[in-house]
Every structure is written in structure tokens, then in C-alpha cells.
């Protein structure tokens, strides 16, 4: 149970970073931390004590396997995370080229 809670704490750390930091790269890092905590959460869901990799060959009827589905989910989510991170970084670099700063207080032109 502790590990699950630690995952959730990591999620909140990322959220804290997103909410309080003023540097656009640091905001992106906060988002990545949140994402990684979620991946760890998924890996924990599939974990079974003393389980082995779920590759079925003969004579393994009574062994315990770890759950392979969360691992597949994490792999897919990592690919998606790669795409989002690449987009974030591309926009951040373009913003830096236009404004010469990473500080969101100096970038704010639009009023939500």
C-alpha cells in the first residue's frame, strides 16, 4: 500500500510543480513527473508477488504470472507521452525564439 501512496505523492509533486513554477521548461518537467508517476502506478497494478514473465511455454500451469495488460498499457502510454513531450518542447523552443525568455510572466499577452 505504501508504494501506491508514494506514487500518488509523486503525482502531487508534479502537480505542485505545474501549478507553482514560472518557467515553461519547468512546467513541462512537472508534467513529465506526473506522467511517470502514472506509469509506475500502472506497473504496480500488474505486479504479483513472485510472479514471472507471462510467456506461456509448456509445464508452467501452476506458476504465477504478473499481469501483462498494464505493461502493454504503459508501453502505449509511453509512446503517447513521447509525442506530448515533443510537442511541448517544440512549442517551448519556438516561444523562446520569439520572446527570448522562458518566464511565463513576461510571455503573457493573452488574457484567458
Amino acid at each position: 500500500m505504501t508504494t501506491y501512496l508514494l506514487c500518488f505523492v509523486l503525482f502531487l509533486v508534479g502537480l505542485f510543480g505545474v501549478l507553482t513554477k514560472r518557467n515553461i521548461i519547468k512546467i513541462a518537467i512537472g508534467l513529465i513527473i506526473m506522467e511517470l508517476s502514472l506509469f509506475m502506478f500502472f506497473a504496480l497494478i500488474g505486479y504479483v508477488d513472485n510472479g514471472i514473465a507471462p510467456i506461456i511455454v509448456e509445464k508452467t500451469e501452476n506458476t504465477k504470472f504478473v499481469d501483462p495488460l498494464p505493461q502493454a498499457i504503459v508501453l502505449t502510454a509511453i509512446v503517447i507521452g513521447l509525442a506530448t513531450t515533443a510537442m511541448l518542447m517544440a512549442i517551448a523552443i519556438r516561444l523562446y525564439k520569439k520572446y527570448n525568455t522562458f518566464d511565463i510572466r513576461k510571455i503573457a499577452n493573452l488574457k484567458g
Partner: protein, 512 residues
């Protein structure tokens, strides 16, 4: 009919790839192909809606059947609501794509624009068809990431900033949704929506489910820009190129926000009074605050974007009242009426808000500005834009022969029948404020005295833009036919049918 379902995802995806491969070589291909494919898909979805016999169609990808009654494959599920959403997505997508042929000529990198556009359509079609909660997330991210890139398509200061803001909030909402998927899998050991629903009926851990529901409301609320989560919408929707604004405002916030709220809260969770109340309150807040924020806007597209928030509030109210009636065990036919009103308004909103954004794009295309203080008197030189914009404005503010009137009327009648008189009053007054706001837009843009423009420069928009606007304007009147009893029973009631009878959706488990 069954084997045609995956075409909705394959064709836009293949189009995007073909454009990236061969678009450089043949310019005609990259312009004509998206419109042709989307026209075909629109036809296909209308064929579905006509030939549909109120059943639920299931498509197993890869042919993996269930083992011990546990569905292990990835499923596409096609029911009434999905078909309605497919019609909206592909129709508005086709018209925006056709409009973009003239509009996007000014920019470089046209092939990237069309490829991202097709990817976004593929993502939304996937969200609507998916019967599996994780694939739903994957398709949602495909649609969302391509929309992030499209918002920043004109690489300028404000556009980049709007895109960054949209991305940060969009990523947050995606993480909430992913966390929820993890929690649901942890609790039920299944990813199929119907299967999760069955397992949660058998054993309910109340606290966890309420936590999951609230996180889902936050996640999808961020995607749909309901009021506490609306900060990104006006920037993102006004920064995108106009055909994309029409897609974002007309379709995207519905397909990856409202649709998923409806689908999951009706078909996956049990409806409880507290959650229904929360959804109704959020809807009311969106409706009222959105329109109040829209009053002071002088940028044409920002004004339209704030009205999107307000109109989404109407949809959510319709859904919320239906949920409240169902949770209290009230009269099911009134609940069905209310939900049908909400879905009807969603359809109408796709049409008229898409049209209004396309009009704004036409005005910007010819005059180069969208500041209402600098515009004026364009009705003489741009008759098509002016008249279509007038009909869309009357539709959104609820003037009788147009479709917006009937859907608002249904929602208001349902609210009155369920004895929520405050909601009734608010819905009527918000409609009046909307009318005032759009009278301002019409007067400042198309009527009044002509500002000192170079008159030779201002002429009507090119043919493809006019065509899209005229078709949407005809639909603004044509959709009010859905209120006629014979047609209404055939389409709207079927759509609501699977929503209010949850056991009906669970039947797909036995059909596997």
C-alpha cells in the same frame, strides 16, 4: 454494415499518411483527397442513420473472441449516440476541409495542415466508436495532440502562447483520465466499458467510485472547457486558423468532452443524485458565466469562443436534468425528452457554431482584421457571408424557424416539467443575453456605416468558402425538421434509448 465500421478510422488515417508521402508531388491530391474521403464518410454515416434498426453493432478487431465470458479483444461499438456523433464529426469535417482549400492557400506547409486535420478526424471517430476505455484514451490523445499542433499552425507569438496554455491544461486532463483508467483497472480488472459496468454493479466500493467520477468530471470538463476549467478555450479557439476553429469549437469539445461524459456516466456508472446535481450545477455555471464573459469581447472569434462555453452549458443542463429525474426515479419519458433536447442542441451547436467561425474566417480573409471596432458595413460587398452569418446568429440566439429555437425550447420545457424553475428562468435569460450579443456582432460587422476600407479590395469570399457556408446555413433551417414527430421518434428517441436503459448497453456482452 458491420464490416464497414473500421473504415471510419482507416480512411482518414490512410489519407494523412498518403498526403505526407505524395502531397509534395501532386498538389491536387493533397487538396482534393481529404474532402473526398470525408464526403464518403459523411455519406456512410448518413447511410447508417437511415438504415439503422436500433440494434447495437459490435466489431471485434483481430477476431479475438471472448474467453470465459471475459471480453479480451478491442471492440468498436456502434449505437445510436455513436452514429449521431459520427454524422456531426464527418459532416462538419468535410465542410471545414472543403472551406480550407481556399483559406489555407496563404500559408506554407499545406500538406502538414491537411495531414494533421485528417489525423484529428481519425482520432475523434475512434473516440466515438471505441468500446474500450483505454483505446478511447489513445484516440483521445491522437485528436488532442493534432489539435495542439493545429492551434499553433500560424507560428506567431500569440498562437504559440495559446497553444502552450492549451497543451499544459490538456496534458493535465489527460493525466486525470489516465489515472482514472488505472484506478478502474485496479478495481475491476477489466477495460471494456460494458464489462466494467457489470462488475461494478456486482460489488460497489462507494468511496472509490465517487473519487473516480469526480476525477472524470475534472478530466472531461477540462477537455470540454466547462466553467471552472475554461481558461484555455477562448485563446486556443481564437488563435487557430478559422476552419480549425470551426472544428475545435463545433466538434472537438463535443467528441472528446461532452460525448465521453454522457457515455461513461450513463452507460458505465450508476446514476446517483449527487453526481447528477454536480453536473447540473457545472452546466448552469457554464451557461451563465460564459455568456456574461462574452458580452465585453471585441474580438470576433473570442466572442464566439465564449459563446461556445455558454452553449455547452445548455447541453450539459439538458443531460443533467435527465440524470436528476432518473436518479430520483421520476418519469422516464421526461428524462428522455430532456436528454434528447441536450443532444439535439449539441447537433445544432455543431452546425451553427461551425458556420459562425467559418464566417469569421471569411471576414478575416477579405479584410485582414477581426476586431469589431474596425469592421462595419460589409453586408453590401459580402452578401453570402452576411446572410449566412445572420441565419447562424438567429439560430444560436433562438429565433423560431431556426434549429436553435427548438432545441432550447425542449430543454426549457423539460426543466419546467421537472420543476427546476430557477434553471428555466436562467435558460431563458441567457438566451436573451445571447441575442443581444449577436445583435452587436451583426451590427458592428455587416451593418452600420462602412469604415474607410479600400472598396475594391473587399469582395465576396472564393467559391469553396461560400459553398461550405451555404450548406451549413441550409442545415441551420433543415435541422429543425428533427422536431417533427415522425422524424423525431426515428432518430432522437433511438439515440436516447441506449442511454437511459443501461441494461440495454450491457446486452453487448451477451452478443459477443
Amino acid at each position: 454494415m458491420n464490416s464497414l465500421i473500421p473504415l471510419f478510422i482507416i480512411l482518414p488515417l490512410a489519407t494523412a499518411i498518403l498526403i505526407m508521402l505524395f502531397g509534395r508531388l501532386a498538389k491536387v491530391l493533397q487538396k482534393a483527397l481529404p474532402s473526398a474521403v470525408l464526403l464518403f464518410l459523411t455519406g456512410l454515416s448518413f447511410y447508417f442513420i437511415i438504415s439503422w434498426d436500433s440494434g447495437i453493432y459490435i466489431y471485434e478487431i483481430g477476431g479475438w473472441g471472448p474467453i470465459d465470458n471475459i471480453p479480451i479483444s478491442i471492440y468498436f461499438v456502434l449505437d445510436g449516440l455513436s452514429i449521431l456523433m459520427l454524422c456531426i464529426i464527418n459532416l462538419v469535417g468535410f465542410l471545414s476541409g472543403f472551406y480550407a482549400i481556399s483559406y489555407i492557400k496563404r500559408y506554407t506547409g499545406e500538406n502538414k495542415f491537411y495531414a494533421l486535420f485528417c489525423l484529428m478526424i481519425a482520432g475523434m471517430n475512434g473516440v466515438v466508436l471505441s468500446g474500450d476505455i483505454f483505446n478511447l484514451y489513445v484516440y483521445l490523445e491522437i485528436a488532442a495532440i493534432s489539435s495542439y499542433a493545429l492551434v499553433a499552425f500560424e507560428v506567431e507569438k500569440e498562437k504559440l502562447e495559446a497553444s502552450y496554455k492549451y497543451q499544459v491544461l490538456g496534458c493535465l486532463s489527460s493525466f486525470f483520465i489516465l489515472l482514472n483508467i488505472g484506478l478502474l483497472y485496479w478495481y475491476t480488472k477489466s477495460l471494456n466499458i460494458a464489462d466494467i459496468s457489470r462488475i461494478m454493479e456486482a460489488s460497489a466500493n462507494k468511496n472509490l467510485i465517487i473519487f473516480i467520477q469526480i476525477l472524470f468530471i475534472a478530466g472531461f470538463g477540462l477537455k470540454a472547457a466547462l466553467i471552472p476549467f475554461h481558461a484555455w478555450l477562448p485563446d486556443a479557439h481564437s488563435s487557430a486558423p478559422s476552419p480549425i476553429s470551426a472544428m475545435l469549437s463545433g466538434v472537438l469539445i463535443k467528441a472528446i468532452g461532452i460525448y465521453l461524459i454522457i457515455r461513461l456516466f450513463f452507460n458505465m456508472f450508476d446514476i446517483t443524485y449527487e453526481i447528477a446535481l454536480l453536473i447540473t450545477v457545472i452546466g448552469t455555471l457554464s451557461m451563465v458565466i460564459g455568456v456574461l464573459l462574452a458580452i465585453g469581447q471585441w474580438d470576433m472569434k473570442r466572442l464566439l469562443a465564449y459563446h461556445s462555453i455558454s452553449q455547452m452549458g445548455y447541453v450539459i443542463i439538458g443531460i443533467g436534468i435527465g440524470m436528476l429525474i432518473l436518479a430520483k426515479g421520476g418519469n422516464k419519458s421526461w428524462a428522455a425528452l430532456s436528454i434528447a433536447g441536450g443532444l439535439f442542441h449539441m447537433t445544432n451547436h455543431a452546425v451553427f457554431k461551425g458556420l459562425l467561425f467559418l464566417n469569421a474566417g471569411a471576414v478575416e480573409y477579405t479584410t485582414g482584421t477581426r476586431n469589431l471596432k474596425e469592421l462595419g458595413g460589409l453586408s453590401g460587398s459580402m452578401p453570402v457571408t452576411s446572410s449566412t452569418s445572420l441565419s447562424a446568429s438567429m439560430a444560436i440566439s433562438g429565433i423560431p424557424p431556426f434549429n436553435g429555437f427548438f432545441s432550447k425550447l425542449i430543454i426549457i420545457i423539460a426543466a419546467a416539467k421537472a420543476q427546476y424553475f430557477l434553471l428555466t428562468f436562467l435558460a431563458i435569460s441567457v438566451s436573451i443575453i445571447t441575442l443581444a450579443s449577436f445583435l452587436k456582432l451583426q451590427k458592428k460587422t455587416f451593418y452600420g456605416k462602412l469604415k474607410n476600407w479600400n472598396l475594391n479590395k473587399i469582395k465576396e469570399a472564393p467559391f469553396t468558402m461560400c459553398f461550405s457556408m451555404i450548406v451549413l446555413a441550409i442545415l441551420c433551417i433543415g435541422l429543425s425538421l428533427l422536431i417533427i414527430p415522425g422524424i423525431r421518434e426515428n432518430i432522437m428517441i433511438h439515440v436516447v434509448y441506449t442511454l437511459i436503459n443501461k441494461s440495454n448497453y450491457l446486452l453487448i456482452l451477451s452478443e459477443l
